[in-house]
């Protein structure tokens, strides 16, 4: 049990936790934009699978990881825009749309994978983004290895977290976005283009979701496997709630969920007698309690999930 406090253990644990958390962080950040604009996108799995598969296919055929990343971004974007079209323009039920897209993409990605594999004698693989240590910072004990000896996509994430934080909290565009999700009619009266804003938020959601999937392929596994997202898209929804729809908080929440997942595999080795699943369960329990804690306090954007229909007077 004392092992848990050795530097070696903690450092490797933190590294693993960060790695595991990255896809969640990307996906949840995108969803924050979407929910702030009033669209509840349950279909994050779809974005991520599209991103993962497209990035794999493009990277494999073009030989370039960066082209692959672009492919992943475009894939996620396309899927999310479909969701936005159905939610905003057609004003259909967002939850149903999300689940249908999840199942659809699961099928499509598996199908295309099989086609790709059957046309190639050897199992296709791509290289992954290499680790880049940031000089100086990566030497910090304990966190240096975990945070600053990672691949480029992680560093891009850090940048995006910072940008999102500033964008959402300190700019007028961020204000307009919040207004659209809270009180679209009020936003409309001051001239904010409600639908355009929602589509933009969905586009960002799609791109970040695509990056999330691309990360899993291009930075972690090097291949696309069937259902490789394994429900992470749903977990990202919990991360968004736990993180109170703020980018920095959500990133920390993602880290927490990542740590819980990593903890599972280490518990036996540490001699902790609790079943591994207990750690797995904990983040979800905590999210539900967090939801309970919001009783009385209006945490959800007022118009979340409700399509805005301009009244014909």
């Amino acid at each position: 049990m004392e092992q848990i406090f050795t530097l070696a253990f903690l450092t490797s644990f933190l590294s693993a936790a960060v790695s595991t958390a990255i896809p969640l962080a990307y996906a949840s950040m995108g969803e924050i934009y979407s929910e702030k604009a009033g669209i509840l996108n349950i279909g994050l799995e779809a974005n991520m699978l599209a991103g993962a598969f497209c990035s794999f296919a493009v990277a494999y055929t073009s030989g370039s990881l960066w082209m692959g990343l672009l492919g992943g971004i475009v894939g996620g974007l396309a899927v999310c825009m479909l969701h936005a079209f159905i939610s905003v323009r057609l004003a259909q039920n967002q939850t149903i749309c999300g689940i249908a897209l999840n199942i659809f993409l699961l099928g499509i990605s598996s199908y295309f994978l099989k086609i790709l594999v059957s046309n190639n004698p050897a199992f296709p693989q791509v290289a992954t983004f290499p680790k880049l240590a940031i000089p100086g910072l990566s030497a910090i004990p304990l966190i240096g290895e975990a945070l600053f000896n990672q691949n480029i996509l992680v560093y891009i994430l850090y940048l995006l977290i910072g940008i999102s934080h500033v964008l959402l909290k300190h700019t007028q565009w961020g204000n307009s976005l919040t207004a659209v999700g809270e009180h679209p009619r009020a936003a409309d009266t001051v001239g904010i283009r409600v639908y355009r804003t929602q589509y933009l938020a969905a586009a960002i959601n799609g791109m970040l979701g695509g990056m999330s999937g691309a990360y899993m392929v291009l930075a972690q596994l090097g291949v696309f496997t069937e259902n490789m997202t394994a429900g992470r898209g749903y977990i990202a929804l919990a991360v968004v709630i736990f993180g109170r729809r703020e980018p920095i908080r959500a990133a920390l929440a993602a880290l927490l969920f990542g740590a819980a997942e990593c903890m599972q595999f280490r518990m036996q080795a540490l001699g902790i007698d609790l079943p591994a699943q207990f750690m797995n369960m904990l983040p979800y329990l905590i999210t539900m309690i967090a939801l309970l804690g919001s009783i009385g306090k209006q945490r959800d954007p007022e118009s979340l999930g409700k399509p805005y229909i301009r009244d014909a007077r």
Binding site: Q92, C97, I99, K114, A276, Q277, L291, I295, D300
Partner: protein
């Protein structure tokens, strides 16, 4: 009359589109669509086993789908069927492992009753949170899915583990749902599912409770103004939904797997949501949609075995159909537009 033709036309167009997509997918896999169609149909109707498999797969979808449809009609978005099925299976396992001597059919009935209660209880949590505090049930039911799955994992490695070996599963359960079509896998759970279709239809169309649920789902505010206890209705809708999903899980347990294990539900809780939708939240529609979906699954599995078409084709087509249905609104809008322009 014209409205009827429009509806039929739309159904034909959607079927046509779906078949077109299926054809494309088959061609993409390098096979002949006609051949595959043959294999598909033979897979379902060609043998007793194939036919029975369709009904076997349809049963849990029907039960869970019925529960979800009750929720949808009452305004309660139950995405937690997956977790409720696991909870039902856990309860049924516990009762089935009870070492008291009794006739098998009583033991099975008790297990199913326990499953209903467990599933209902699991849905009660998000139900009461919505009814009393207005907390969205979408995220809550989703979280409970994961918690139920992990709970199952914990139990089958612990208290409920088969002591004879190290696999994460419960011991083989004695009580089982009787087979009704030897030598196929078809079991009494399917009959139970059919019974439930009737029961749900009766509830929704012929009882005051069912009427109330529909009113609440359609206009919560008016329901309140007219004296309906909205809180009670939401709780009833959620518990019934969870209970039916619980039975679905127990059915898989006692009729097919005979052991509690992690893959018991395997995503059918989510599929049941689409089944409810495709069935237009109507019990007979759910019946048809679940059999339709199961047939699709069995046929696709056969196509995969014999022709190498990835079975993922099922997910693709189901997702596609639901998305089409969602876009239905656009078609309607275009028709309206044509009408208005025509009149001008």
């Amino acid at each position: 009359m014209r409205k009827y033709t429009v509806q039929v036309a739309r159904a034909l167009v959607y079927t046509g589109l779906t078949l077109a997509v299926a054809t494309l997918l088959i061609l993409g896999a390098g096979a002949s669509p006609l051949q595959c169609a043959g294999v598909f149909i033979r897979g379902i109707f060609g043998s007793l086993n194939g036919f029975a498999e369709v009904l076997v797969k349809a049963a849990p979808l029907m039960l869970a789908g019925l529960g979800i449809s009750i929720g949808f009609r009452s305004g309660f978005f139950n995405i937690g069927a997956e977790g409720q099925m696991y909870m039902g299976a856990i309860a049924a396992t516990v009762v089935a492992m009870w070492p008291v001597q009794m006739p098998s059919w009583i033991h099975v009935t008790l297990a199913m009753a326990a499953a209903f209660l467990a599933g209902g209880l699991w849905a009660f949590i998000p139900g009461i949170l919505k009814a009393k505090f207005g907390i969205s049930e979408i995220i809550n039911t989703l979280m409970l899915n994961y918690i139920a799955f992990d709970l199952t994992g914990i139990l089958i490695r612990g208290v409920l583990q088969d002591s004879t070996d190290y696999l994460p599963q419960s011991p083989a359960l004695g009580p089982e749902l009787a087979g009704i079509l030897a030598p196929t896998r078809l079991h009494a759970g399917f009959l139970l599912a059919l019974l439930m279709v009737l029961a749900v239809w009766w509830l929704m169309e012929h009882t005051p409770t069912g009427f109330e649920l529909q009113v609440v789902g359609s206009n919560k505010r008016a329901a309140r103004c007219l004296g309906i206890n909205v809180m009670k209705s939401i709780v009833i809708a959620s518990c019934l939904g969870g209970g039916l999903a619980g039975i679905a899980g127990a059915g898989e347990l006692l009729g097919i797997q005979h052991r509690l294990l992690e893959g018991l539900v395997g995503g059918s809780g989510y599929t049941a949501i689409l089944v409810a939708l495709l069935g237009r939240n109507n019990p007979w529609g759910v019946l048809a949609a679940s059999i339709g979906f199961a047939a699709l699954q069995v046929g696709a599995n056969t196509m995969q075995r014999q022709m190498g078409i990835p079975a993922a084709i099922v997910s693709i087509l189901t997702g596609f159909i639901v998305i089409l249905l969602l876009c239905d609104a656009l078609i309607l809008k275009l028709i309206e537009k044509r009408k208005v322009e025509g009149a001008a």
